[in-house]
Each structure stands twice: as C-alpha cells, then as structure tokens.
Amino acid sequence: MTGLAQPAVIASSLAYLAVVLAIGVWAARRTHDARDFFIAGQGIGLVVTTLATMSAAFSGFLFLGGPGLTYRLGVSSFFISVPVSFTAGLLCWTVAKRLRLLAEVREIYTVPDAVLARFRSRRASGLAAVAVIAGTVGYLGAQLQALGLVLDSIFGTGLAAGMAVGVVVVLAYAVAGGMVAGVYTDVVQGALMIAAALGVFYYALESGGGLGAIGRTLAESSDFGPGFLDPLGAAPLTALGFYFVFGVGVLGQPQMLHKFYMLDDPRKLKWFPLALSSSQALVVLLWIGIGLAVPALVASGRLAPLASPDDAAPAFLLGFAPPLLAGIVFAGVLAAIMSTADSFVNIAAAALVHDLPKAFGRPVRRELARGRWAVVGVTVASALFAFLYGDLIALLGTFAYGTFAAALAPAFAVGLNWRRVTPAAATASIAVGLALNLGLELWGRQAWFPALPKPPLAAGALPSAVALAASFTVLFVVTWWTSKGDDDVDADVAAVMEM
C-alpha cells in the first residue's frame, strides 16, 4: 500500500513541502554573502542551534535506516543511538566551546578552517577537506536514498525515480538558500519530529499490545528469537563498535561541529547538552518504537515479512498509525532529509570552493557563486554513490559517519585540548583514518577479485571502529615522535585552548 490510498498522508506531506519551499524563498532573500551562506550569519540562538544540531544528526538515517537496521540486527542496533546519553555533553566539554571561540578570534566558516587555525598546516586542512567531501558523498547519498524511499512510499514512484526527484528538490532548495534555509528548516523539522515521535512510540507499543507483549512475541518467534533482544546480539564487536564510533565519533561530525560557529553567544552553550540530549532522546523513541513493533507484527503474522528491512518505518506508518500522524511523520522525515541534505551539500561545497583552494594556496574569488555550482556536483555524485552502494540506509550512513569520525575526531578531540599535538601528527591521523575507513570498506565489499581474502578483522568488527582506533593511535605515536615539547600554536589559538 502507498500513501496515495490515504488522502491525509498526501495532504500533510504536500502542506509540509509548501512550508519548506516558503522557507527556501525567505532564506534566499536573507543570504547576501558567503558568511550567510556557510554559517547563517553567526546569529542563531540556543533553541535554533539545538534543533538544527539535532536535525543534522537525526535524519533519514535515523527515521528510516534505524528501524530497518533493527529489523535486520535486533536491539544491538540501538547502540547507534544509546550514546545520545552523553554525546551532547562530550561535544560541549571537548570541542564546542573552543570551536565557537575560534570563530570569535578568526574568520572561520568550516571545519578545515579550524584545523588550519589550530595546526597552521595547509596539508592537514586540505586532508580534512578531502575527508569532509568523502564523508559527505556517503552521508548525502544515504539521505537521497531515504528521500527516494519516502517518495516511493507515498507516491509509488519507485526508488530510482524517487531519488531523482529528490535530487532536483534538494538542489533547488540548497542552491537558493544555503545554510540559512537548512537551519530554519531544521527548526520546523525538529519541532515536528519531537511531537510525531511521541505519537508514533505510543501507537507502536499499542499495535503490539504493549512492551511486554512485544517482547514475549519476539522472544518466542522462530524468525527473531531471544537473540533479537540481546543488546550484544550475534556479534558483540558490532554492537560495541556502534557505541564506540557513534559515541566518540560525534567529535568529528562536521554537520554538528559546524553548528557551533553559528551560535550568536558562546555562553549559551551552558544549557546546550540538556536541550540537545533531551530532544534527541524523545526523537529516538520513534526508532525504538517502530524497531520493536514491526518485527513483533511480522512475528505475529499481522504484517507480511518485509521485502527490504528499510521498509520497516513506511510499512508501520501506512498500516498501523493514524493517517494524520503518518502524514506528519512522512512530512517530518522529508523535512529531516531536506535539512540534513542541505547542511551537507553546503558543507561539501565549502570544502570544495573554500577549503581545498585555500590548502593549495589559491583562494577562490566569488565563493558564493562557485559554491552553488559545487552543490550541484556534490549532490549528483552522492546520488550515484548511493545507487551503486546498494545496501541499507543505516549501513551507508554508518560508513559516512565513520569516515568523519576516523578522519577528524582525534585531531579535534585531542588537538584542541593538548598543545603538544603537532601538525605532522594531525596530518597523519587524518590521513590514516580516512584511508583506512575507505580502504577497509571497499576491500570488504569488493567483488572484482573473488580470490582476494576479506580484511583481517575479527568477526563483526566495524571498519570504522578499526579506523577510529587506528587514527587515535597514530595521533599519539606521531605526537610523541615529532613533538619537541615547545608547542607551536598562534597566540590567539593558544588563548582559546587555555579557556
């Protein structure tokens, strides 16, 4: 069944799209220069920053990919969102304050700008820009795949056609509005999703007869069984790897770090962890509710086994939630995807027209105009990559998240807090994290050389967890090898690091 059979679903989704387009037009009028385009004019308050950060973190990956991954792996997949309990605090204690203060003393738009300011190394900054582009292609690809799935669920377009339509909509939206559009769509989306997640959680539990009945159904099912409810699942290293990558890797996510530059007053960070973690926890209820209810409905024969695990959320919303709520959730998911996609294309565009040219010592003139062309290239490349990757949304998202995590988290988390970290150590850490994550992922998935053995990792070990641990290791080893004890940091950056 598609949403076409339910007019309320169509009406809510179309009403939402009208709101998004209105925000895009309004934002385009407020975007006058590169500062507006890339960091929303650095004039965003706590509530907007919180909802924008939450929306950037939670997107098609969480709403569609999450329940899909749970359908395949069981509750061990919840370890992707369990770190929400501390990631907002970790971000604030470790990097947020220093990034925001760097933007007080320097003209900083991007994550590689911060790497350049801290390490005075164009090589490290250029590599960070490459990591941002590589991760963005994966993450944006996951968003476009999710967008295609939603459009297919509502209008029955088919996945490929849905993705194609999504590319056009994202392009029109992002090219016009830049980061201002993304941030204000985040606000609408965030508020909508918090309300909708509570409703979905209630209906998910109700459809399965309550939490106890859902648990018993799953435990007694021959398809799912008690292992489905074991948090460490069939492969404990996978579950623990999710926790490690999504818990520590948050420190390397440009879509979140970037938001700190936009905050109008750095002292507003005081209540940021409370605001962010509580809103994230409420939204995660949607994943937990659908993630537990759908397998139970399949196990009890009330829902046919899913053709693809990624169909879990659409199947539940269209079959078991009230049409109005389903429409709101679909609209919210569309908003989540649009805002995250918008943030990502602008971050990647900044890496292409601002960071990489700077790393090569050839800054680009007319960044705003070139940035809009870069948006087109990045979006099309991401759609093609997602199509070729051909796996679950959550797995593509995990790969992209892992790319940012392994490449950037150690350099930021340790580099912004320990003055002895050298430019060589940061460069080596970014290079190893990036190369290892991409290399292990491609090696593990390649089918061109059947005789080639799989990567020498333990069963269930996530390539991104290996790359993240290796990147931290390299950072420490090279620091001890190259540091002469007298740190080499500019006075203003040193002052920021001391605070």
Binding site: G212, P266, W271, P273, A413, A458
Partner: protein, 138 residues
C-alpha cells in the same frame, strides 16, 4: 593531573581497542567494552582541562555506572535472565541504564560546572579585547 591521566588512558586504550578488533576473542570483547565505556569520559576530562578537578566526583560516578552497565551486559549475554519492565534484563539495562538514565546526569553536570570549566563572562570579554576577530591571522 586529570589531563595527564586522560592522555595516558587514551594513548593506551586506542591501540588496545585496535588489537581487540583484530583478535576478536571473548577477552577482546570484554576489553573493548571496558575501554569503550571509559573512552568518552576520558575525553570529557581532557576537554574540561583547567578545572577537571571540579568534575572528579561526577566523572568517577559516571565511569562506575557505565562500566557496571557494560559488565552487566557482558555477563547477561546469551543467558536466560529475568525480565524487567517487559523486556529481558539486558535490554532494559541497555535502554534505561545506558540510554535514558545518564541524560539528565551528564547534562546537569555540565550546566552545574559551566561557570568553572565552561566559559566565564570575564574570560570571554578578555579574549575579545585581546584578539578580536581577524587579528590573529588565519
């Protein structure tokens, strides 16, 4: 002192986690769990920097709590354990212990200590007066 301990921990834990992910024995799973639980807290202590001492009690309490939850999960893994709140004990430990319970604790600890390790108004004004935007280059 807290900074030094954090750095030593992170420097040792990183290769140890890498090794655990390559070996994949039952011992590696336990080692990975114990180290992964402490890793973010060591980063918090590193980030708190100048006044991590003020966080000492809070961070130690969180460390004990997280480690206890993970050791509980490892102990219950693959076993027929009692149920709590409609789910197996291990699942409840994951969703309530690791997910919901620490949220207010971590967030309020941050807000409570913000004036000490976070950002004091006078520090911010001094930074703006000394460097302003653009004067440091970049």
């Amino acid at each position: 002192m807290a900074t030094k301990i954090s750095l030593w921990f992170l420097a040792i834990a990183s290769p140890a986690i890498l090794l655990a992910l390559l070996l994949g024995t039952r011992t590696s799973e336990w080692a990975f769990a114990v180290l992964a639980a402490a890793f973010p807290l060591a980063l918090i202590a590193l980030g708190a920097g100048r006044d991590a001492g003020a966080l000492k009690v809070g961070l130690v309490a969180l460390l004990v709590f997280y480690e206890a939850c993970f050791l509980g999960l490892l102990t219950l893994h693959g076993r027929d354990a009692p149920w709590l709140f409609g789910l197996p004990l291990a699942t409840t430990l994951q969703l309530v212990g690791l997910f919901l319970a620490p949220i207010p604790a971590v967030a309020l600890l941050y807000a409570w200590t913000f004036e000490r390790h976070g950002l004091r108004r006078r520090d911010l004004e001094e930074l703006r007066a000394r460097f302003g935007r653009g004067e440091g280059g970049g």
